[in-house]
Structure formats: structure tokens, C-alpha cells
Symmetry: C2
Subunit: 575 residues, 2 copies
């Protein structure tokens, strides 16, 4: 606080002169873990007292429960496909007032400038967005990303106040091998918060990883894994997102064993806007926690102050003098239905947005990031012998299998087969011409193609289809709209969701985004895509080479189990 | 951690190669609040694993309790009268491995250079000493201090990494009045830890004070005061020092009400070295806490990790991979008797000290700070009418009364009376000639004088006696030895404790310091000083104008209740 503001706050607190009094609330005190019937006096954006107050501007809480604003400890905003402003609209209505965001996706497209763009897009938004520095850009050397983020870039982002800590360190191999670049990054963030990402990590590896810096984890699936990491000193982020939500048993065990909860917090990581609107956000995890036996006040702390402390949001996480008056009023502490939200001392109303900026000065291609070398239908040819390597999808999981299938060929070129689709990944950042083609079983498209510029983690174009011309049409449609998702059926665009910002996000209204997603899913279904899993998510993750077992990057078909390319480009040509 | 160290730690953790294994310990896990039978593997100064380990260098704990090194959250090292090196020797044997030190005393003598001197004297000492920036130097405008500490000085101390936060903000009047200099200091430490000092503070004033920045308090005497401050978001420092130790009832209530203890920690503030050696240090407070019903593991957390988190000592406060291997082995978690201490991975042995540096380059008068204008016995004359204003001591408290006593005078000059002593304060930093004289009842000296260069908070010379020539002799003896305490009886030096560093500390052996203190107390007793209170402490606090009701500074006799000088200098001369 500067001296002027300090002086105003001190005078207001001394006199009790407020700009807002929230009367008759059941206030959750995170320090004593009491629920106290009290009024909360606010001056400007700051809480100046909890007790008995009156003022010119009173809000009657009628005994509802006033909590510190909830915090999502780990989220990728880009994966919501909307801008931080729209994301803010969605989550604030559920009481999430701050997020720790890892702009990993846009960093893979635009590098440090992309991170700065996310910062810039978040400034002035009611949601308090704190950014971590994506630690692994490019994610791997197995694909062509749009940008890289060096330790030097990171140092600059810290110096500019853009990022607070280091984002999830996924490349634990690089840590274990003491790769100089990784050590440089870790040492750069010495004394700052470093997020971990350590699925199944245990024993000596966990010791080494923790000692190296990563101090949080959100990738655990059993209580045994949870407790080992907690004992080792990791902050534990209990995650309920769209894909991952299996923490009920762990929460129940935490409650049963009366474990301390002060190092536990909540996160969503990735949660679709439609799911958020239906189920809630961090409040949905608090609801689950209470259902599992966690005390309501502990759940509130896990949803607020624990994250605030871990991530250094010093003025959030409590309702006490000097804290920012960003608070949520819940009808109760079981369902956590939001009655009202206060942001920086004012009742929150969903704002009527001005349009997002049409460009971000630092990135000329901000709205025009889809650039690939000229393509024809022939570009999608696949060279193979009669026993082709095929990616086999499994229902209900992103994990794939590698299988051999007998196929028809003509002069060594694959000829369409009903049960297989073609999959292609096309470098789309600098038009290098790098692309590859493979076969996929289990997608089930007939008579069309679906393409996307969201392809984890490098976000090249990924396209699936049963014929080359529809695949080409779908890819070209993406170029026209600046990226997104497109379904082409029988040569015609059946549905399109334009994501023109970096090919990842849109500033279109939320309702329109949801509408377009429905249209895309319908189109996919009409073309025969299996209904159980979301074909759009399935597609976007088929390029991620860190998930077993076999993936396609712009470089080639990669066997993650054996850590080798099965082939590069368009397959094996006959000698 | 730099990259080289990171690489060594990662490799050691991965392989389990250690430089020390503490075998068979009952390890306190502050994250899960479990006590786990385990081995702790250490590489160099860092913990690399807790579990089952063996190594070339094993230490068998035989089931004793291994805890993170204890932390004193608030202490004035100068008040121990020994250097940080000696202080380290004393407290480490009781398991205190880090302290948050407020170098308020030396700052009043030498300003920012004094703070840097304390930093420099603490470097390389086994005890981890973190410094706060003294917030109130000079303490008041009612006395002449040796130096001042401006906001600019503070900014420099932060930039140089000398200090971490702002020391106890005692001048809450300046906060309430929004004095620009105070606001400047507070805003300078925005986002950093600011210590409070808020005796009896409550209600709106507490709200304003807390909102302004101070986030800790150690000046509470009832449970009501404690809980109000805890609710307001203050970290609460439970203090057991030499003078203040009345927290048993509060601890009992905390235990009974099952209050969360994660924002509570321990401090000593001021504790004499003899008391530390007899009773212990932070471990003595842990012992008391457990006796009062606090769970042993919670007491360990209050003594370690809670303070580490509040004061940002990131690598202390836990026994887990990546933390510094600074640990205490206790026989049990009730008495907290120390079996062994490990500092940065090595068993601690009291070092055979090299002598402290004979000077600190930045301060020429480091060992020669006692400088006053020429004095004669006549300088101690007191001018008064037959009803003199007298400071009346009360047994068992530092609080005094103001009384009128009928006295003999000759030409308006006070003539000695058996039941009264003379008290004088003499500016001793820049030989300005500023001095004052008053009468004190209840000290009881006969046939001698006691002088000291420790006179809170400005540390001018304060001297008490029944005759002017012994007073002069006692003061002059201090000049000769560079400051300290001196008792003169019948014209001869009866006992002397030289404190040549800033007139506050000595690098003499601890045993000698204790011996000299005993000699001083004996001499005082022989001269008739009342036995109940410590006459040395009583003397040093008679100059502190913030304690009611009446005090003597070098400027004059001050009425703290009415906030005015009763007279200045040597009393009221006849018109």
C-alpha cells in the first residue's frame, strides 16, 4: 500500500467510516476457525473491521455465510477456450475470485509474448489472475512448437512482474538428469513457489524432485500417493476438473484420519465452461469435501487462505482488517450455493463487456496464428506396407495402444478402409512444412473430417477424417477463421468454433461458444464418432507425446513407451 | 540453490548417497503432524530423505525425537549483553537454531551502521540470525539518541539484504496520526513481515493498526486480548522472557478451546543469559505449552515451522527433502531436554571461538562509543525548592510513581537526604553536554553509586547514587572501559562489567559476564539496593520515557502520563 492509501485506510478504520457494511453475516474466521455472527466494514477495496458496524451503504446478509474469495490453485485458462475476461465471468458466479494460472498453452504458440498477452488480457478483469511461468516450452523435442521459453525469458517475466512462480515441472526426466537448462530454471525460482506435476512419483525420485524445488502436486490418484507427497512437504492440490475428478476417497480418508488440512487446496486444472456452469467451480470441490467429512470451515480454508498463503496472495484468504474485501456469500457451507460475491469492496455484477482488444501489440499474429505450408489432398497420403502401424483408441481414457492392421495399398500408398481413419498433424506456427500422417482406429468418422488448432502441447493442427479432401477442407477452414475446431462433412463445413486468439481462445460470447461446441459434437456424432468420450478432447490430446502409448506429432508417429519415432512424416516409403 | 548445488542434491537424493544418516529417530512431521520412526538422510547441509537409509556416517538417535530446529520469533540480542557468537553458543545448546532479531538497541547507538554491524557479527555464527529493521530509532523525541534510522536507511538495508522485515512498531501513535515518516516506513515494507507491539490495543485502534501493516504481536496479557488479536489476523508470539512470562493461562485456554495453533509461535524478547542457562530458551516455552495441554507436535510446530513460515525462512521448519538439515534431537516431547543439535547437516559442538573482531570498519567508535562532555561533581547538582519532584520506585514492576518530598536545600541546591538517591542521565554519544538530574525514592543506595551505558532506549549513561563524587567516579569508570555497568563504593570501584561494543555488548567469555553480573549485584546489595527487583534492570529502564509514570532522560524529568517535561536539565533554579 502506498502512503496515501495507507492514510485513508487507517483513518477509515479508526473512525469506522465505511463505504460498505455487510450486515448480519456468519463470517468464517480462517485464523481461529470460528464462524462469527458479525458485520464486516469495508472502506474502498479493503476490509477495515469485523464486529458491530453500521454505515450509509449497508448490505444485509441475512445470516448467510461470508467467506474469503475462493481460489483455484492451478488452472490453464486457455483450455476454457475463452479469454480471461469471459473466464472471469463464468467462475466469479461460483465464488472463485482468484486463480493461479499456468499459460502453458499460449506460451507454446507465442512464447514469452504469449504469457505477457495473457497478463495483459487479465488486467482489469474482476477475477484476480496470477500467472506462473510455464516451465516446459517447448514441452518436448518431439514436436515443433511455435515458440520456446528460455531461462532468460523467464528472468525477464519475473522482473516485469508478469509471473510469480514456476509452472508445473512436467519434465521430471530433465530434473533427474540434471539437465543444465532445467537446473537454470529451477535455480531462477529459488525462494519462489514452483509447481510440481509428479504422477505416480515416489521414493527416492520424489525426494530428489521435491529437494530440487517443486513444492506442489495435483497429480495423485491414491491416498498412498497423496500421503507420501504430503509427508515429503508438498502442498497438495485436490483437483476436480472435467477429466480428473477421482478425489472422493482421498478426501474421505483425510477426514477420517483427521489429517491437518493447512497444506491442502483445490484446483480444476482443466474444466470445460459448460461443466463449470452446470456443477460449479472451486465451490463444487468444497461441496465434495464437506460431503466426504471435511469440516465446513476447513473446506473454506482449503478453498481460500491455504492457496493464498502458498502462492503469496498476501491480501486475500481472510476476512480481517487490511485484507482485500473480496468475499463470497454462501447460502450454507454444505452446498456452497453462491448468494453474492464482493470484489474489492463492491457487489459483483457480471459486467457488460467491451470487446476484447482486436490485437495485442507485441504479437502481430495475435489473431492470425495459423500458418502452414501449402497443402493439397495429396499431402495427406500415407506410405505403408500391407501391415500398417495404427493408433488404437480406448474408450474412457486418453491412453492409446499401438496395433498392426492389414490395409490395402496402391504403390505403397494407403487406400481407405472403413474402420480406420487418417490422422495428420501439420506444423502451423511458421509454415515449416513439417507434417505427418498416421492411422487411427476407434475414432469412427465416416464421410468427413474434424480439424483443430488445439493440439497439446505444441498446438499444431491436428486433423482426423476418412478422406483426404475433407481433411484438407477442414484444415483450410481453420486457416480462414484463425484456428479453432472445424467439422467438414461431404465437402461442406458442418460446424465451426473459431478460436482466433493464438488458435486457442475466442472473445465471442460464452453462449455462442457453448452453442458451437454442441454443433461440433453433433456433427461428429452424425459422422459416426463414438459417443462415450468427447471426440474434440480426444483429438486434441492425440498429439501429446508424453501420454502412453502412441501419439502423432508433426514430426512423426511416436512410441511413448519405447521413446522412439516409429516413422517420420507420411510413413514408410517402399525402398 | 544455485545450479551446482542443485545438481549435487538431486544426485544424492536419487542415489541415497548421504554425508550423514540420523538412524532410528522419532521424526516429527510438521506437515501431517505425525511422529514417524525413520532415518533421516542428509547430504552436505540438506535433508535428502526421510525413510529407511544407511550410510558411511551414521548417528544413532536411539528413538529420541527429531524436530526441526527451534526458532525464537522475536529477540533483542544486545540485551543479552553478549555478541551474537556468544548468544549462539548459549541458545543452540537449548535447541534454538534460528532467531528473528530486532537490533533496536545498537541502532539507537550507531544507526544503520549498527544494524550492519550486528549482521556482520552474526555471519558465520552457527545460529541462523535474521534481522528485522528497527522501526523506531530514535525511539522518541524526548531523549537524545546516538543515531536515527530513516526510511531511506531502511530501503538501503533491505536492498543490501541485511534486514527482512520491519521491527516492532512501538509508536502506534505515529500510525494513528498517519505521520508521514511512519507511513513511508510501513509502505516500504508492504508485502514483507511487519512486527507489531500493541499492548492493550483493541477495537478500532487494533483494526487500524493491523490494516496498516503490523502482523504480529507479543504484548498481550489476557486471553481476551490474545483472541481478539488472533481473530484480527495477527500472528501471536507467546513470550517467556526474564521479565514477561505470564502466558500459562492463555496456553491452557488455547488447548481447552482447541484453537488452531498454526499462527502461534514462541519468543523470548529479552531473557538473561543466566536464566537461559538455567531454564532453557524456546524449548522452555514448548515445555510450558505441553504442560498447559497443547499437543507435543503442535508445540513443536509453534516452536519451529510456524515462525519459519511467518518470517520467510523457507528452508527451515521441517524435516523433509530439500530443507536444511538443522534439527534438534530431544529426549522426549514433554521436558524437551536437548540430546543433540544438528546444524546444517553436522552435529553441533560448541566452537572454541576465535576472538570477536576488535573493530567493525564502518564504525570507528565501535569499541569506544562512550563520549560525554566534561563532568565534575558539581555537574550532579540538583536545583529544587523544598518540595522536590521525586520518582518513586515500586517493587516488582518497572512502572514508577511521581511524588513530592520535602527536602533540604542550600541556595536552592538539593542537600542529600538518606531515603532519596540522585539519578542522572548524561548524553554519551556525541558529547553534546545534555544531561539532567532527578531524585529517586526506593533505590536505597548508601555510600556509593551505580552507572550504566545501557539506558533504554537511547542508551545514554544513567547513574544512581547518594553522593556526587561516587556518581562521577562511576560514570568516568564507564568511559575508561567503553561502557557497561559499574558500581563505585566509597570512592572505589566495587564491581564492573565492561560492555565495550557500543556500550551494550562484550565479547568476553560468557562465564566472565555472569561472574561480573554477580559481583555487581553483590555490590549493589552491600550498598543497600533493594533485593526484590534486579537493580541493574531497574536502573536501565528508568530512562525509558514510554513506560509510566515518570522517567528521566538526558533532556529532563518526564511525566509520561501527562506527556510533558516536569523540568529540564538539573532542576528548577530559583528566580
Amino acid at each position: 500500500m502506498n502512503e496515501d492509501r495507507l492514510s485513508h485506510i487507517i483513518k477509515a478504520a479508526l473512525s469506522g467510516d465505511s463505504t460498505l457494511v455487510v450486515k448480519n453475516a456468519n463470517v468464517v474466521n480462517v485464523f481461529t476457525k470460528e464462524i462469527m455472527h458479525a458485520d464486516v466494514a469495508v472502506y474502498d477495496d479493503t476490509i477495515i473491521g469485523v464486529g458491530s458496524f453500521s454505515g450509509k451503504n449497508e448490505y444485509d446478509a441475512h445470516g448467510a455465510y461470508l467467506c474469503p474469495g475462493f481460489i483455484d490453485a492451478h488452472v490453464h485458462i486457455e483450455s476454457s477456450m475463452v479469454t480471461p475476461a469471459s473466464f472471469s465471468d463464468i467462475v466469479l458466479e461460483h465464488g472463485t475470485c482468484a486463480v493461479i494460472a499456468d499459460p502453458h498453452e499460449i506460451a507454446n504458440v507465442f512464447g514469452a509474448a504469449g504469457v505477457r498477452a495473457m497478463r495483459s488480457l487479465s488486467d482489469g478483469v474482476p477475477l484476480d489472475v496470477r500467472f506462473m511461468t510455464p516451465s516446459c516450452v517447448p514441452a518436448t523435442k518431439l514436436e515443433t512448437s511455435g515458440a520456446s521459453l528460455s531461462a532468460e525469458d523467464m528472468a525477464q517475466l519475473i522482473a516485469q512482474g508478469v509471473t510469480a512462480g514456476l509452472g508445473e515441472v512436467m519434465d521430471f526426466g530433465a530434473v533427474a538428469r540434471c539437465e543444465p537448462d532445467m537446473l537454470k530454471k529451477l535455480s531462477l525460482f529459488d525462494g519462489k513457489i514452483v509447481d510440481g506435476h509428479a504422477p505416480m512419483m515416489s521414493g527416492l525420485m520424489l525426494n530428489a524432485y521435491r529437494a530440487a524445488g517443486p513444492a506442489t502436486d495435483h497429480e495423485f490418484s491414491t491416498f498412498g500417493e497423496f500421503i507420501e507427497k504430503l509427508r515429503a512437504g508438498m502442498y497438495m492440490l485436490l483437483r476436480v476438473g472435467s477429466a480428473a475428478n477421482d478425489i472422493g476417497a482421498i478426501l474421505t480418508r483425510i477426514a477420517r484420519d483427521k489429517l491437518p488440512t493447512d497444506r491442502l487446496m483445490f484446483c480444476t486444472d482443466d474444466k470445460h465452461i459448460e461443466h463449470i456452469m452446470r456443477e460449479g467451480h472451486i465451490n463444487a470441490i468444497a461441496r465434495l469435501a464437506v460431503k466426504c467429512g471435511i469440516s465446513p470451515v476447513d473446506a473454506v480454508c482449503m478453498a481460500s487462505c491455504n492457496a493464498a498463503r502458498a502462492y503469496g496472495i498476501n491480501d486475500m484468504g481472510a476476512i480481517a482488517p487490511g485484507y482485500r474485501a473480496t468475499m463470497v456469500l454462501f447460502d450454507d457451507l454444505e452446498e456452497f450455493s453462491v448468494r453474492d460475491v464482493f470484489v474489492s469492496g463492491k457487489p459483483y455484477k457480471r459486467p457488460a463487456h467491451a470487446a476484447a482488444p482486436r490485437c495485442f501489440a507485441e504479437i502481430p499474429q495475435f489473431y492470425d496464428s495459423v500458418r502452414y505450408a501449402p497443402l493439397t489432398a495429396e499431402s495427406f497420403s500415407l506410405f505403408t506396407d500391407e501391415y500398417a502401424d495404427v493408433i488404437k483408441l480406448k474408450d474412457g481414457t486418453l491412453v492409446t495402444e499401438l496395433v498392426k492392421r492389414r490395409v490395402n495399398t496402391e504403390n505403397g500408398v494407403y487406400m481407405p478402409t472403413a474402420r480406420l481413419n487418417k490422422l495428420a498433424v501439420i506444423e502451423r506456427h511458421r509454415a515449416t512444412g513439417s507434417m505427418s500422417v498416421a492411422l487411427v482406429e476407434g475414432f469412427g468418422l465416416a464421410g468427413g473430417a474434424i480439424a483443430s488448432s488445439v493440439g497439446h502441447d505444441s498446438h499444431n493442427i491436428i486433423v482426423v477424417g476418412d478422406n483426404d479432401s475433407d481433411m484438407l477442407a477442414a484444415v483450410d477452414a481453420l486457416k480462414t477463421c484463425g484456428g479453432g475446431y472445424c467439422a467438414v462433412r461431404g465437402g461442406k463445413t458442418a460446424a465451426i468454433l473459431a478460436l482466433p486468439i493464438a488458435g486457442l481462445m475466442t472473445d465471442a460470447p460464452i453462449s455462442q461458444v457453448i452453442q458451437r461446441q454442441h454443433e461440433l459434437l453433433n456433427a461428429a456424432k452424425l459422422m459416426g464418432a463414438y459417443g462415450a468420450s468427447d471426440p474434440l478432447i480426444t483429438l486434441s490430446f492425440l498429439a501429446l507425446p508424453v501420454i502412453p502409448r502412441v501419439r502423432l506429432t508433426d514430426i512423426g508417429l511416436f512410441d511413448a513407451a519405447e521413446q522412439r519415432f516409429i516413422y517420420v512424416g507420411n510413413g514408410r516409403k517402399k525402398q
